[in-house]
């Protein structure tokens, strides 16, 4: 399998990547936007998951919570992703080799599959259980898994900065 390293080095050498890397304000603003958009967007996912699991908002139908939040969740995710990408190119080789970065990406993918699986299966029948304080078991499981994953994503993201396994 061809090595990804030349691609990473190419990214690192891009003019705008260098500009962010050497910036006075650009990097701090980018990184702060990344953290702020993640905690906000993950928070919206968490409250939705709390309803799914039955721990909060039990008197409110699930869709009354999920539908208005969805566009904001997507916007927050998009901002997190864009800022994340811009941060990555600042030091691609270091992040690529960082165990917490890898764990974070894997967890992101798993969280995505969990959400997709939920939407394609049990969520299709939501009309039947929307108002039940206790959702069907598979729905509650998806919610619990999501809560766990997003907490873990935030933790592993923060730990990227700690150079313990360099």
């Amino acid at each position: 399998m061809p090595s990804i390293l030349p691609a990473l080095e190419w990214l690192e050498a891009l003019a705008w990547a260098t500009a962010i890397r050497e910036s006075n304000w650009g990097y701090p603003i980018m990184e702060t936007a990344h953290v702020a958009s993640i905690v906000a967007f993950a928070g919206l996912v968490m409250v939705m998951d709390l309803r799914l699991v039955g721990l909060a908002f039990a008197q409110t139908p699930l869709t009354r919570i999920q539908r208005p939040l969805f566009p904001w969740q997507m916007a927050g995710f998009a901002l997190s992703g864009v800022t994340g990408l811009l941060l990555f190119v600042v030091d691609p080789l270091r992040y690529y080799g960082n165990v917490f970065f890898r764990v974070k990406l894997v967890l992101l993918a798993l969280a995505g599959f969990n959400a997709l699986g939920f939407h394609l299966t049990i969520f299709r029948t939501v009309g039947r259980w929307d108002e039940d304080p206790l959702a069907p078991k598979t729905a509650r499981l998806a919610g619990a898994v999501s809560l766990l994953f997003w907490a873990a994503i935030i933790v592993s993201g923060r730990l990227i900065a700690s150079n313990w396994f360099d």
Partner: protein, 145 residues
Amino acid sequence: MSQAYRESLWLFAVTQALHLVAVSAFLGAILIVDLRLLGRGSDRQSHVGIARSAQRVLVWAGPAVLATGIPQFTANALRYYASPVFAFKMGLLAAALVFTVTVRRRVAGGDGDRLPTWISRAVGAVSIALWMGVAISGRWIGFSE
């Protein structure tokens, strides 16, 4: 000796990471109400119920934020004490708390339906600005040596 230092490094970083998780849950419970205030005009029935449920989440998430925030402060009290950005964050936090338990509570509650839409929208916007401001200035402390 260095083993103990390594372990305390781990504890500091994990405490900070858990602080972010608690902040996230807290912000979610704040934003879900604020976003509804912003979009007020439709779906009035559920607003009050959601605001009440959100408050119950805040009652759990808030102390969690405190419990993970205080150790960070004490670990480096001199640094934070001297930091103008930290002072700004605490000021914003105070303002956000006062605003939330006074103005926003009234507007998000049953009374809010009698008020013109622009007031609900303004309250929602101010709340988002205050609370996101707390989160943003929290991160900015690290960039403001």
